[in-house]
Amino acid sequence: MLIEIRNLTKSFQKGDETITPLRDVSLDIDEGEFVSLMGPSGTGKSTLLNQIAGIDKPTSGTIAVNETEITTISRSRLAKWRAANVGYIFQTHNLIPVLTAYENVELPLLLLPFNRAERQRRVQIALEAVELLDRANHYPRQLSGGQEQRVGIARAIVTDPKVVVADEPTGDLDSATSSHILDLLKRLNSELGTTLLMVTHDADAAATAGRQLRLDDGRLIDESRQKDELSLAVPEGNAHV
């Protein structure tokens, strides 16, 4: 098992109100899986993604990624862990505007013990994988939205991370470009064996993944398993998926 989440709860205060986007969530994701996470706005999809990516801490519960318990490690160790183990694809790609596509993709590699030649080799492979090697020296402002997102994907996979998380990667794109990006993610999963967890509100996009999860009222439902189980007519709860 690559990701093991147990009894995860996340609460925060908003004025006098306590909001609990995640309530006692448990989840297992195998290495090489492509999992989509759907749900209405504000149901905690991104919150769950951020917990797995190690950029947010839960109120309670545990998250183990590749047998590393990430909820208890320090902020500085967590940063190092993220650099080596997590690739993050943002909805708005979030490229650094002053850096070229090449330099943007190279950024995460600067944190790891690679020499210049190795960094160059990896960046070229990553840009080639997203079919943007010819745009390596272009700045984000010189790229289309879809191209920017592909650079963002190259940046997420360049370190060969254990898990890639994508937060609405097609949310800002038109349908044709979205389709291209989803194909690319699917190809990365099938050809490179990258473990992918994608948050989306688009049912078609979610269907691209091998396994579809839905967050509703802070609880997680495995829709793929439900479909399988419905077809077998065997009902089951959803506390642990």
Binding site: I55, D56, S76, N94, L110
Partner: protein
Amino acid sequence: MFKFAPYLLKTLWRHRGRTMLTVSGSAVALFVFCFVGSVQEGMDRLTSQSDSTLIVFQANKFCPATSHLPQDYDQIIGKMPGVQEVVPIQVFTNNCRASLDVVVFYGVPAEKIQKIRDFDLIEGSWDEFESNQDAGIVGESVARRRNLKLGTKFSVGEVKVTVAGIFNSSDRSEEDYVYTHLDFLQRTPGMNLVGTVTQHEVVLDDSADAVKTSSLIDDEFRAGPVETDTRTKGVFQASSLADLVELIELSHYLGYACIGLMTMLISTTTFMAVQDRIKEHSVLQTLGFSDSIVFALVLAESVLISVGGGVVGTGVAMLTLAGSGLSVGAEAVTIAFSPSVGLALTGLVGSLAVGIAAGVLPAVAAARADIINGLRQA
């Protein structure tokens, strides 16, 4: 950190207008700091000269124009124990009060100049000077300031001198003086100074005690035709510049104020840069940049701006000080504004320290910012 240099430099270039303005502001602050520092250094050089040289002046007189000592005092002083050389000097200045354009003539027996001064003639010749009564050798700083060339005749009041040489000296303040023959200056029309001098400069040997010798000289002439007041050259010069000392001390605070202003300016700019890039820093932290790397990146931006301003400001100040030959004088003693390696290093190290001090708070703010909140920024 060198791996992040492209990001750092491009980030600064992204807001080049703001960066350039801040660098310029820092440069101006460092320029003023160095300028004020050079005045302070010049005064320190004058007032901390070794005790091996004494100045014998007329008691209770302050301006060179009013001090008239018998020239033959040199014979009596020369026989005192520990005295190596006595040089009678007639001083003439165009302005006894504090001024930025004081011209001071030192009339000295021609054969003694090279014994008591470490001068290097960069133009002209000693022979030409010694063989012409109206010849003068001119300090490089005066020559530059007054555009004096070899052979130029120039006059200040009734003193008319032909430039026979231009010298530089290891003591920069000497380059603000014009040296002439003693007889020539004493015979200046309308002054009737033959047989008297303004002061005697007494060079002591290693065995002499400056304080005891000073007392010995003053005791000797207490009952003489003109009473003397003998002090070491450093004390004498400090006393001559007394009116300026407080002003210069005050200007010191102006230099520190410039450093404070520079710190505030850079800190504000760095804070603005951090606030503009809250989301960008959160993205970097999401990619795995640790707090310490983000801290170092912001601090490096602040240091680069500060040191950039420091290099420009210090460089321009050094060039200006070297090229302008500026000085301020009072009572025929001048403080030279001159560049120095020490001052340049102080300016550069100061700018580095300012960069660090100005960058710490913005760097902490950037490093400790909440990643999730940062990613939600527009």
